[in-house]
């Protein structure tokens, strides 16, 4: 690799999803400070479903709707980041980036810090009445028949880069594409244009390696005897060193567990990729078909050979809507003929609930590998598993119809096969998703600086 023309940009990632560990950022920030030079900290906290749940919370409370763990994630490191010039970029704004920004401003006051310059990225939220015609043009009349909870476009890095160019110390976004959290800082730092496809693609794949947090550092990787990971309980979070050409070296926070090696990085490089020659993002179409990885040192892997092509003209939109009710029930059987008794209980439930399409799992014998239609279960001969938990699940638009599942599972206590115990039942409202593409021009993303409260 040619030595970078200017000092590498360091980008550390301290969260890979909503619900990730909240104590990850400390070691990442310590490492960024120790290494010195320009550095960013990113948190990726939005999955498809997360945003719909956030929108529901915002409906109940206009000041809610951002990442519920924001305070736990950011408070321990905010002072150190501000003191050392480490800027923060995240999608933890979820359904309410403005409220998240206000919360961070208050947090800074409480910590006795000078007011940070916080930018709020907007434009992704298409759930308003004003955008209904845009969605109808793509999804047809279906969009009028659903109870919409959220609709968000995956916007790209440009608004983030512009906010950083304008001096933001913290950028709070909602639904931006995950790699854009990395591309934005790189664009701003190196001054890349929005059509510098090769460099944007390289930074995109750096962002792709970072966006799932520990998953590139030995998290979600260990398999005893085959893929052994040191100190998995203390797995480190990743730091990318990005050069002026966009090529990157992936490492991890100092003094942590885990591993960064060819195996762990290759798994993450291909994670959620379809055609490796065309990884679609709002910023660029990245091509990793000729990509190469090199183990440069322990826990340091270099990525090069990524190319880029012009970005798509459309943006992806996810529309979440109310999807009726999910009913689940479980009961355990153990000892001799446990599996036979569990299968008999499933048969009882099917006959008692003819209006529901039951999914049946025999946990301990056959469950997650099977299919909702029951094809694998039907063709798998009854075995002699001796510790089986029967699980049944079904959905129904009508709450009352769904509730019957839980009652019938409970009734197995007195009416079902012998020896069943440990009944648990749950009923949860469902969210379903529709996806479509909309023209990029129809989604004007932008940023605003949060006004100084003082």
């Amino acid at each position: 690799m040619t030595p970078p023309a200017s000092p590498a940009l360091l980008i550390g990632c301290a969260a890979g999803f909503s619900g990730d560990r909240v104590d990850a950022a400390g070691a990442v920030v310590d490492t960024l400070i120790r290494r010195g030079g320009p550095a960013f900290l990113i948190f990726e906290t939005l999955a498809e479903r997360t945003l719909a749940l956030a929108q529901l919370r915002r409906r109940a409370d206009p000041q809610a709707g951002f990442e519920p763990l924001l305070d736990d994630m950011l408070r321990p490191v905010l002072a150190r980041c501000m003191r050392h010039g480490i800027r923060i970029v995240s999608n933890f704004g979820a359904a309410n980036p403005l409220a998240a920004a206000q919360h961070i401003r208050t947090m800074a006051q409480e910590l006795g810090l000078p007011a940070p310059r916080i930018a709020v990225v907007s434009g992704d939220d298409l759930s308003g009445q004003g955008q209904r015609a845009l969605l109808r043009a793509q999804l047809g009349a279906a969009v009028d028949d659903i109870h919409m909870v959220s609709a968000n476009a995956y916007i790209g890095a440009e608004a983030i880069a512009a906010a950083l160019d304008a001096g933001a110390q913290i950028v709070v976004a909602g639904r931006v594409a995950d790699p854009s959290l990395t591309v934005g800082p790189a664009m701003s730092h190196f001054g890349w244009r929005a059509d510098d496809w090769d460099r944007l693609a390289r930074a995109t794949m750096a962002g792709h390696l970072l966006e799932c947090g520990a998953q590139v550092c030995g998290g979600y990787f260990a398999d005893p005897g085959y893929k052994d990971v040191p100190d998995l309980h203390d797995v480190g979070y990743p730091i990318a060193e990005i050069g002026s050409e966009g090529d990157c070296v992936i490492g991890k926070a100092d003094g942590t567990g885990g591993c960064v090696n060819l195996a762990s990085v290759t798994e993450q490089l291909l994670y959620e990729v379809h055609d490796p020659a065309a990884y679609l993002t709002p910023d660029v179409v990245a091509d990793i078909s000729e990509a190469q990885l090199t183990q440069l040192a322990p826990d340091r892997v270099g990525l090069r050979g990524v190319r880029g092509h012009a970005r798509p003209g459309n943006l992806k939109v996810n529309v979440c809507h109310e999807g009726g009710w999910l009913a689940e029930g479980e009961i355990s059987y153990a000892g001799p003929r446990a599996e036979a008794r569990a299968r008999l209980a499933a048969d009882v439930l099917r006959r008692r609930l003819p209006d529901l399409q039951l999914r049946v799992d025999l946990i301990g014998a056959l469950s997650v590998m099977a299919d909702d239609g029951g094809a694998l279960l039907a063709t798998t001969p009854g075995g002699d598993a001796r510790d089986v938990r029967l699980r049944v699940a079904a959905t129904h638009a009508n709450r009352g119809a769904a509730e019957r599942l839980g009652r019938e599972v409970t009734a197995l206590y007195c009416c079902g096969p012998a020896g069943g115990g440990g009944v648990r039942t749950t009923l949860t409202s469902r969210l379903n998703t529709l996806s479509c593409l909309v023209p990029r021009e129809a989604v004007p993303a932008s940023f605003e600086m949060l006004e100084d409260a003082s």
């Binding site: 085959y226 195996a263 290759t266 994670y271 379809h274 946990i363 997650v368 299919d371 079904a394 969210l431």
Partner: protein, 134 residues
Amino acid sequence: MTSAVITVPLYRLAHGRTGDKGNRSNISVIAWDAALYPLLAAQLTEEAVAAHFSHRRPSHVQRYLLPGLQAMNFVLDGVLDGGVNDALNLDTHGKALSYWLLDMPVAVPVAMTPLLRGPNWISPQDRATRPITI
């Protein structure tokens, strides 16, 4: 040199990870050793993988080869019962599906068995003193 072959599960030759988007699953298969990659390319065909997942009724299986990474990427459409928000599976993402694939039988020349992970694997460092002839 012998022409004898043994049949072992794919996880002796490769590792992988599942990802999901909607009703589509992708599963990476990454050879532990570059010398094993041609075996995977020859035997893990789209047809063979589709048959291995037949109970999930894939509507389409596409394979992408990445020889530079000694890896391949399978994209399986329609195997997630609608995907994370629709499936009734406990594992709505289909996260476990990589291990279903990694259980697939693969035929390996006996002479290459020292390259297989698991019992009797010879690490690259040890191969210097115990050369393998293939």
